[in-house]
Symmetry: C2
């Protein structure tokens, strides 16, 4: 359902254990960036009413999650601060083709894959942490990220035939799996 080509490597769980606060702060930034991505899609494809409606809902939900994470940080006495992002988002966005309609298909599928990976990581995190509040929190976010993945993939089919979209999703998912398997040293939500 999530179209991911690999599971989170165990290496990431070691990062979670070594620096959970950085991962939580990065998560807040990810929610904010996800709202920005959805709003940018409204700006770019404003004549597609179906896209605008779906993206508006996603903007609202991501901002709500952003505040939920800020509240969680506050309850734990973790100061929210700027953080160098992981290169995951940039590397995926570099895969977006420049010409329309390929461009919009890629933008939607990449956004959808990021949602899918977040969904998978939330599940892994909820299972891994020995912390009832965190486990419940990440369990509760799981469903909406899965739904966002589905929304992005569905919208891509407004711009290209289903077979074209699914072939490209398969390609992008393979590249996403390479990036996530390679990983990176900074502990982040997508490291």
């Amino acid at each position: 359902m999530l179209h991911l080509k690999c599971e989170t490597p165990r290496r990431w769980l070691a990062q979670v254990d070594s620096d959970l606060p950085s991962i939580l702060i990065d998560h807040a930034h990810c929610e904010k960036k996800a709202a920005g991505t959805a709003l940018n899609l409204i700006f770019a494809y404003v004549e597609n009413i179906d896209l605008c409606r779906a993206m508006s809902e996603i903007v609202n939900e991501e901002l709500e999650h952003f505040h939920m994470v800020l509240d969680l940080l506050a309850r734990r006495g973790i100061r929210f601060r700027r953080l160098t992002p992981s290169s995951y988002g940039r590397e995926l966005n570099d895969l977006v083709r420049k010409l329309e309609p390929q461009r919009v298909v890629d933008r939607l599928l990449v956004a959808g894959l990021i949602e899918a990976r977040s969904c998978e990581r939330f599940h892994v995190l909820a299972q891994h942490v020995k912390d009832a509040e965190l486990a419940e929190f990440y369990g509760s976010l799981f469903e909406s990220e899965a739904r966002h993945h589905t929304t992005y993939t569905r919208l891509a089919k407004d711009f290209a035939p289903e077979s074209v979209v699914m072939t490209r999703l398969d390609e992008l998912a393979s590249l996403e799996a390479e990036i996530i398997t390679r990983g990176e040293a900074r502990p982040r939500m997508h490291s």
Copy 2:
């Protein structure tokens, strides 16, 4: 309460009468841009939790208004399309100083003045049009724009003393009045 230095000139009412559809379409774009402005402020000042919360609410409300205007256009058979914007927003944003903390104060006050002018125009429009649906619609949006103006002005006081903020607001409001008095030929929400 709105800190505006002039009323909408009668010239604008002639534009409303000559090309109401363009003004309605431009209004939809304005709501979308207002959501973008608020989200950009979250990105720029993410460490200010008070600002982030207030901006998230504004993003949600502006997107809701965006869809309300899209629905209004659909009911009237007006096709939503791209439109060259008026120069009003750009001219006001050119007044924003480059260095912090002056920059954030100006960004907030300019955003607040745009809300104030929208509020005033919605009121003028609701009074002017011989159209019960439009009059009710613009009457209903009036209150939230006024509230947004107040929110932006209040937030500016997080970054500079009240007297400094109010002096700058007075300066910017005078410049805004010059821009709006000069006007422009294209019929737009802020022409």
